[in-house]
Symmetry: C3
């Protein structure tokens, strides 16, 4: 067995607008990748910080609320999962987010003890 | 030096029930991997959404509160860490969670400037 | 195209003190890596749990509030990003945190559909 016994298992990690979470969940389910984990995060992309006013004081908004989506997949191509997230999250406006794919070396389902692609 | 100077460093990432966090922390400490990071997340596995009732309205629970555990390890096999998380988190019921292992290329301890396995 | 069409894309993942976030954001912007995602987490490093007293009761603090920083980078060396985070986060005291680098296989910017290093 090679060190990477999880070959073909990928972590698809997306940063999206919070109000697109419903659309992304549906797109993922339709793509055959219903399992996911959601985290509330904040972040910034490549735009410079925005300035605003509150009660006469100027302030800078430099971190925007986003949602992080993590989907570990094995039986369908990671790029299909990227497509699903991008389709569900797209509005065409700046701030729609990004999706990254990372390699996963092994997986375990706790209840069953299954490992490898069957555990995902 | 190869690009991957962290060979042997792994990120063990588990999704567990919030009420098993104490057991998992203890199992990790006993396995010699006391360092960890905890994040409150929500997610769903392979079960279809559950339906419930609230004040006469039907609603769907499709994301369950979970805890994400991240342990970066170098000196002990990642599979021992997976075992510890799985042992601590197991109840035998659906929803117990999953554990994934990802490769890590380098590590730095901020206070000391140490790198590689010594930094983990 | 090789499976890893994102060669050179890295995820730099740091765990820092919450009150050093401002310094770290500035150090990252100066290093040419302004994009980042921030998550509130809690964790412990290699120190044993601290004991305290509250209203006469002894309690154990074993998880400390930290901030997780994630920066995906392609055009600048990941080690420069590690340097920036470490510089911004360093106080010289225990608990300053750690930085890890993980490989990323592909990237997509949702709004533009760009992929690879241009998407980061
Ligand atoms: N390189 C990156 N590393 C880590 N997180 C990122 C990165 N780029 C974007 N993000 C996360 O994604 C969120 C949305 O990014 P955003 O869509 O604004 O990217 P962008 O490159 O500025 O694209 P756009 O021009 O369409 O706004 C950010 O708030 C941040 O949480
Ligand atoms: N493939 C996955 N990708 C990302 N997160 C996942 C994945 N599978 C499970 N999770 C996370 O783990 C949590 C628990 O999953 P769960 O134990 O229900 O998995 P399962 O496959 O349905 O197994 P079981 O049949 O034992 O319930 C989910 O709520 C989610 O946060
Ligand atoms: N091996 C690890 N795996 C996952 N998270 C870690 C690991 N080590 C540290 N962390 C995260 O980083 C935070 C800060 O760690 P900390 O700086 O205390 O590490 P340390 O090894 O104890 O170094 P120091 O001796 O300088 O305190 C922890 O609270 C935890 O969130
Ligand atoms: Mg933007
Ligand atoms: Mg389940
Ligand atoms: Mg410490």
């Amino acid at each position: 067995m090679s060190e990477n016994d999880g070959s073909g298992i990928k972590l698809v990690m997306g940063f999206i607008r919070p109000d697109k979470l419903g659309d992304v969940k549906q797109a993922l389910a339709e793509a055959g990748a219903p399992s996911l984990t959601v985290t509330n995060v904040s972040g910034r992309g490549s735009q410079p910080a925005k300035k605003g006013q509150w009660r006469g004081e100027e302030y800078t908004v430099d971190l925007h609320e986003k949602v992080k989506i993590e989907c570990v997949v094995a039986d369908i191509p990671a790029e299909d999962v990227v497509d699903a997230i991008a389709e569900g999250a797209n509005t065409g406006e700046k701030g729609d987010g990004k999706v990254f794919v990372l390699p996963v070396e092994s997986a375990r389902q706790i209840r069953t003890g299954k490992t490898g692609p069957d555990a995902v």
